[in-house]
């Protein structure tokens, strides 16, 4: 099944420039969110991420490989969808404890879940992904269908990350991956 929104399909994603992921996002997931076991710490170093002397940012491919290493080395016994959802949750939990994350997270309880979903493009930009196109369609007071054009992160990873952001906004979310395509995915978000 392909994505329903014709306007979303018609747009050309801005993938020409390779996104760069800020080191605080790496810090959020791999230092503050997860406590890497020795094999994972070694694998992250091999992929180019050194937590003790990080670069300002990293190519998205480094991010992708590091997340993939974490999937197998931290949650190897789980299915892809379970593992990536947990990793997504760890990302938001950890990022909210970084300096930049604290600046953003302090407002979440005040703005509420609907505005968290509205601000998803802003949060993606904060994570180094300003090019990601997000469309949110209201299906009711507490239901949104959210289409995200992201080819680098698994849908469950973003679902897990959004779940925690909504929890910080004092909601109890249920997020299903509704659809996936080569260009992105669609989430059904309820709270």
């Amino acid at each position: 099944m392909s994505m329903e929104s014709p306007s979303l399909q018609a747009r050309t994603p801005l993938y020409l420039a390779q996104p760069r992921i800020p080191s605080c996002v790496f810090e959020g997931l791999f230092v503050r969110g997860l406590e890497p076991n020795a094999p994972l710490a070694k694998a992250l170093a091999t992929e180019g991420y050194a937590p003790r002397c990080p670069d300002v940012d990293y190519p998205v491919q480094v991010w992708k490989r590091c997340v993939s290493q974490a999937r197998y080395l931290a949650y190897g016994e789980l299915s892809d969808s379970e593992a990536y959802r947990i990793l997504g949750r760890k990302l938001t939990e950890g990022f909210a404890n970084t300096l930049l994350g604290r600046v953003a997270a302090v407002g979440l309880p005040m703005i509420g879940p609907a505005r968290v979903v509205e601000r998803l493009p802003r949060y993606m930009a904060m994570m180094g992904r300003p090019e990601v196109q997000v469309q949110s369609l209201s299906m009711g007071e507490r239901v949104r269908r959210v289409s995200i054009l992201d080819i680098y992160n698994p849908p469950e990873f973003i679902a897990g990350a959004l779940e925690v952001a909504l929890e910080y906004a004092r909601a109890q979310p249920i997020i299903h991956v509704d659809d996936r395509s080569p260009d992105g995915f669609r989430l059904l978000v309820r709270w």
């Binding site: 800020p22 300096l99 930049l100 604290r102 600046v103």
Partner: protein, 146 residues
Amino acid sequence: MAFPPRLAHLATRPVVVAKLVPTYSRAHQLDEEEAVQRLSHALQGRLLPSLLDEAWTAMQGKSKRLDDEGLLEKVATTLRDRPQRPGRVVEVTAGWSAFLVLADLEAGTASEAARRVMESPEGRQRAQAGLAEVGRFLATELTRGR
């Protein structure tokens, strides 16, 4: 610039760095030498006068009994014996976080994504609140003496 010029002569960049560096180095998990270097670099430009401005406002608000001359004397007394005595380590709140991100931007060690966040209307609001909070901390550090 609202603060008197003498405040800048007393609370020089090395003095302000000494007060902030323990919290800065802990927040970044850096050794002190590197933290001093980065923070000194961050305070080379407009951040230091903005911080002194906030510190001066906080001092004036706190010590209603003292006039400006009296306040400056209190700062001079505090800094007389050991001007670069390290400041207290404080818990990094959202306000401190915003200030430390500003410092990283000034030092050139923060990402473009951080710049985008801090340049948004909400980011500016948080930055201002952060400056005020760290200004209050600095005011306390500069007036702790007899």
